[in-house]
Symmetry: C2
Subunit: 352 residues, 2 copies
C-alpha cells in the first residue's frame, strides 16, 4: 500500500527536527538557514508532501471548514447554492464539507416537518460538528418554515432557501415579492390590463409573496386587481392547462404562472387552441428552468439568484465565525433576475 509522506519523513531526510520542518513549511521566517530551508522545500515537493488535515485541525482546534447541510442535493436548485457557498469559501480560504440529508430519497417525498426530520437534522448537525466545522449553512429544498434549529444558540448557522420559525439565526432568501412586482409592472407596461394569474397553492409562502408583489404592482400602476382572474394551481402542468382554459375564456391577454411547469401547461393549451404565445397570449413563468427554452418563443421567467444566495449565506457564516458577537440581519433578501422573452407581446398600440 502507498503511504502519504509525513513531516517526519522530511525531517529524517533532511536531518533536522520535525519542528523545524513545520516552521519552514509554514513560512515562519528565519526558522532555518536558507540552504536548509531550500532543502526542506525540495524534499517536501519530491515526497509530494501534503499535511494531514486531520492532525493539523486536531492540533489547531480550528478546521477552517464550514459545513453545508442540504435537505436534498438532487433537488434542482440546491447544487447552484452549494456552488455559491463553495466559491465564496474558496476565496476566503475556507473548506467546505457537505452533509446531504437525502430527504426526498429517504422519505419518498413526504416533506412535511416530522419528528424524524428533526432527529435526522440533529444527527447530521452533530456529525458535522464532530468534524469540527466552524459554522453551518442549511439549504432547504424549497422555501418554507423550518421548525428545528441547532441546540446551541451561539454557533454560526445560517438558513437559506427556507426560514426558521423562531430563534435568532439569520436566513437568506430571494425576493419573491419584488420579482413578482417587476413581472406585474412589465406586463402593465406592455399594455396588458386583463391579466390572469395562476398561483401555487394558497398555503405556499412563495405563492403568497408572489401574489402580494403582483398586486402591489397593479396598485402602483393604477390598474384594478380583479381577483376573479387569480386561480390556484398545484404547481403541476395539468393545473396550468386547466387554469389557462378558464382564464382565456374570461378574455385575459396575459397569464402570469407562478412556476414554469404550469406555464408549460398554459403553452400547451395555447398550441392546442391555435393561440400564438407572444402574440395572442402573453406568458410569464417563474423559476427559469430549462423548459423555458423548450418552446418558441421562449417563456419569460424569473430566475432565482441561487449562486448569490449561497455566497451571501457563506459570508454571514464567516462573519459570525470571525466575530462571534457580530450583529446580523435576521433575514437577507437577494433580488431575482427577470428574463423578459418573446412570450410577452406589447399590446399597448392595439385596440381594447
Amino acid at each position: 500500500m502507498f503511504r502519504i509522506a509525513t513531516i517526519k519523513d522530511i525531517a529524517r531526510l533532511t536531518g533536522v527536527s520535525v519542528a523545524t520542518v513545520s516552521n519552514v513549511l509554514n513560512g515562519k521566517s528565519g526558522a532555518a538557514g536558507p540552504a536548509k530551508a531550500k532543502e526542506i522545500f525540495e524534499a517536501a515537493a519530491r515526497l509530494q508532501y501534503q499535511p494531514n488535515t486531520l492532525a493539523k485541525n486536531l492540533k489547531l482546534r480550528r478546521s477552517h471548514t464550514v459545513g453545508i447541510i442540504t435537505e436534498d442535493l438532487t433537488v434542482f436548485n440546491t447544487p447552484e447554492i452549494v456552488d455559491g457557498i463553495e466559491a465564496y469559501c474558496e476565496e476566503q480560504g475556507y473548506e467546505i464539507v457537505l452533509a446531504n440529508m437525502r430527504l426526498f430519497k429517504r422519505y419518498d417525498n413526504n416533506l412535511t416537518d416530522t419528528p424524524e426530520h428533526a432527529v435526522l437534522f440533529a444527527n447530521t448537525l452533530r456529525s458535522l460538528q464532530a468534524k469540527q466545522v466552524e459554522g453551518v449553512v442549511y439549504i432547504g429544498y424549497h422555501y418554507r418554515q423550518i421548525s428545528y434549529q441547532p441546540p446551541q444558540k451561539d454557533i454560526p448557522f445560517v438558513y437559506t432557501y427556507c426560514a426558521p420559525t423562531e430563534g435568532n439565526f439569520p436566513s437568506v432568501t430571494f425576493d419573491d415579492e419584488g420579482a413578482s412586482y417587476q413581472v406585474g409592472t412589465e406586463l402593465v407596461r406592455h399594455g396588458h390590463r386583463k391579466i390572469g394569474v395562476i398561483s401555487g397553492p394558497i398555503s405556499s409562502l412563495n405563492a403568497q409573496a408572489r401574489l402580494h408583489g403582483y398586486q402591489r404592482a397593479l396598485y402602483d400602476a393604477g390598474v384594478l386587481y380583479n381577483n376573479e382572474l387569480t386561480l390556484y394551481g398545484d404547481w403541476n402542468r395539468e393545473s396550468g392547462y386547466r387554469c389557462a382554459e378558464q382564464l382565456i375564456a374570461k378574455g385575459v391577454s396575459a397569464i402570469f404562472a407562478f412556476n414554469d411547469v404550469m406555464a408549460c401547461g398554459v403553452y400547451a393549451y395555447c398550441i392546442r387552441h391555435n393561440l400564438a404565445v407572444g402574440r395572442d397570449i402573453s406568458l410569464f413563468g417563474y423559476d427559469n428552468r430549462s423548459i423555458v427554452d423548450a418552446f418558441s418563443p421562449a417563456i419569460s421567467s424569473v430566475e432565482s439568484p441561487l449562486g448569490e444566495m449561497g455566497r451571501r449565506s457563506a459570508a454571514l457564516v464567516l462573519e459570525k465565525i470571525r466575530d462571534p458577537r457580530a450583529e446580523q440581519p435576521r433575514t437577507s433578501t437577494i433580488p431575482c433576475i427577470l428574463h423578459l422573452r418573446d412570450s410577452v407581446a406589447d399590446i399597448s398600440g392595439r385596440a381594447e
Copy 2:
C-alpha cells in the same frame, strides 16, 4: 463559545479513566461493570457526546470515508450520481467527502483537457488524501476520455460517467449502445421504416455509441440503414429544428434525436408546421430531462441510470478498499431505462 463534550468530560463526570469510557462506548464487552457502564452511557447522552472524527481517524489511521471528486456539481446529472454513492456508502457504514472542481464555473465551460485541469485534479485528489480518504470516485460531467489519473497506481479509484484513456482504474458508464438498440427496436416494432436520426457531433463518444446501437437494431430487424437519414446536430435546440426540417422533407415517419434538447427543436418544427407529434411524426429523445413533459404528448426518452452508476462505483471502491488485490472489471456498464411515451405512434397498420 460552546464546546463539544469529549471523552475526558465523561471520564471526569463518572469517575473512571478515559480508557474505560472509550472501551464502554465502543462496546467492548466487560470493559466495566454494568452499573458503571450504564452511568457512562447516560453521561454521554446527557452531554450529547459525539466522538471527534478528526481524533478518531487520526488514531485509527482509517477514516471510513470515500472521497468524491465532481468535475462540476451543477451539471444536471452529477447530483444523482453523488446521491447513489452516498446511499450505498451509508448502507455500508462509510462516510463520504465531496470535492467539487467547479470546472464549468472556473473555466467558463472550456472543458477540453488542459494542463490546468490535470493540475487542479492533482490538487483536489491530494486534498482528499490529506483527509485520509480510503478511496475515491471521480464523476465526469459528461461521458468522455480523461487523460489524467492518480499518481499512485494502487489506490481504490473509480471513474464514472467518463473513462480513463489508459491505466487500470475501473470505470462505470451507462449502456448507450444498448439503449439505442432498444429505441431502434421499438421504432421498428411500431411500424417505422424511414427513421431519421439527429446525432450529436460525430466526435462525441456518446453519439457514436448511440448510432452503433441504433444501426445494430435495424440490422437485427432486417431494416436497411439509410445513412442519408442520419444528420449531425450540435446538441442544441436550433440544430434539432433545422435537422427536423430536412428529415421531414425526406419523408421520415419517426425521428430519433440523441438528446432531449434537440428533440424539443423537432417538436417546435412540427408544431409550427401543423404536424402532430405522436401521430404524423414519432419522436424519441435522450436523457429524460424534465423538458420531456413540457409538451403533450410527452417525448419518449432514455433515462440514464445515474443513481445506479453511483452505487456501482461506490461498490467497486469499497470492494477494493476491503481487498486491495481484488480483480475488478475494467469497465462496468449499467443499462438505461427506456420511457416509451405517446410521442411514438404505432403505424404498422397504415399504408406506406
